[in-house]
Symmetry: C2
Subunit: 328 residues, 2 copies
Amino acid sequence: MDRGLSEFDLIDRLRRQASVGGPLLTGLGDDASVTEHAGPTATSVDAVVEGVHFNREWSSPDRIARKAVATALSDLAAMAADPGEVYVTLGLPRDTGTGWLEQLADGFVSAAAEFGAVLAGGDTVASPVLFAAVTVVGRAAEGEVLVLRSGAAAGDLVAVTGSFGGAAAGLLLLEGGWTGADDDRPDAQLRAALVERHVSPRPLLEAGRRLRGSGVTALIDVSDGLAADLGHIAEESGVRLSIDAGLVPVQPGVQDVAGPAGRDALDLALGGGEDYELAMTFPRRRLESVRESLGETECPLTVVGVVEAGSGVEVSGGSAPAGFDHFR
Amino acid sequence: MDRGLSEFDLIDRLRRQASVGGPLLTGLGDDASVTEHAGPTATSVDAVVEGVHFNREWSSPDRIARKAVATALSDLAAMAADPGEVYVTLGLPRDTGTGWLEQLADGFVSAAAEFGAVLAGGDTVASPVLFAAVTVVGRAAEGEVLVLRSGAAAGDLVAVTGSFGGAAAGLLLLEGGWTGADDDRPDAQLRAALVERHVSPRPLLEAGRRLRGSGVTALIDVSDGLAADLGHIAEESGVRLSIDAGLVPVQPGVQDVAGPAGRDALDLALGGGEDYELAMTFPRRRLESVRESLGETECPLTVVGVVEAGSGVEVSGGSAPAGFDHFR
């Protein structure tokens, strides 16, 4: 039935650039892709919506596609899985320009390739609002085990990669610009890094795969916010995560942006989300092995707390805002 | 980051009803599902959007969910794959009522179960328009082969299951009601069957799996319209499909609805789409084996044409409308 979709043939454009190989036997152009792989397979779904997750004024079509792919693949990093295939369903308003759509389509192909995955399927539907639903599939070798959220045990350490609050501070800059005194304004490079953090996140796939077999008992990517995502580990593992807020690494520049916007830097670091770092638990005796696993990546590891009997997330120290009470 | 999503926790509601087993080792509640299966795996993505593919006035939330799942699974039938997992990403407007959403969520779980699949993952995002992006995964046993669109060869027969035009006629009834003279109005049962065809399609999964290994060389489900979908087989196989329009089975009642709406019944049958029947090709000598494969299902098989050297779809006989020229 003609659903009023524009003439643009996304699948045709995509398949001219896509390739098969490895577990992918048949890609774009059939009713479904065909893959074959004997080991564990991780599958995750996600979506981004215009006006909610991105704005065409803030970002180019290729960066919108790249962010949609990156944030979806971050869920595979959180499983310690190797990236495999990316599938995209686009909801397209009638008035979307063909040139813009071509850049968006090409952006999905190149983003998949950039992160070691391949675009293996897609669909387009007419929609009053532009959206991209992204499905990602990742794998481990036969006999290997993917890392869930549910393995944290009392006595484990809680650690994170990288630093936090940057994506939220970047969003503040995008939404409101710089609102503080001129003298307090962080330098252009620092501001650009914060905006970049929001617009162009990178999935920590290499870090994730290296953590496979390192002794990590639970693993998650920080998309909702550090406190909320640690809460997911606590819930799935049936434990309490006790976090020292003073240990949480805050990205440079976040402090400068938070103040004038009437926000607290630690609030942004713990609750801002979209930093796409990894948070994990592991037995104390595995600290060095975990650190070594990440050694060759550019991901610093910081211990921020411990796992205890109980439930929820307890944030102490620093100036943990009252809003985090509900994670306890 | 808080994206203004309503408080409704879809995943929590879904996981209370979902189960794991078979290839599915970990379902809802982690960053990704985990599956393990050594044979060929088919993956397909699809989406439905409010106001484009469904209207809340026309259908209940459980039927909207059921149709979204059924049409997605139809792509697995078109691969001759056994249904495995269903994943759903919901775009939810802020004002969507919780009761309605609960019915929608439950509808996804029960639709997956009805069709022999299991709901294995999902996500919710805020969106100004309600949409559901559905990913489905199906399989065949190790050593078996899924059926693509690309195997049709000159000399093959073209055949279809069931009858056509019903979903399009049902949509006409939903959109405009009955516009003809009272005396010509098809009886209530016939009208209900047409509307049902549009609102509650069923994926021919059992027929599809039985066709695996029957000698079928190309297989597709009829979602876009019979002529268009046969065109996909022609394109992927590098052949021409020559169809006798007079042989195409038209659903009872379509003729009655088409006339008063100023439409041609054959036009609806060839171009209407959403009937979710299967169309296929196979060597002449396999006709009986294909017919026998379908014997125990409720799917009648009708030969509607032949495969020739060339390209595109040629519709002859009947009163094939000029609009199908572009498929030649």
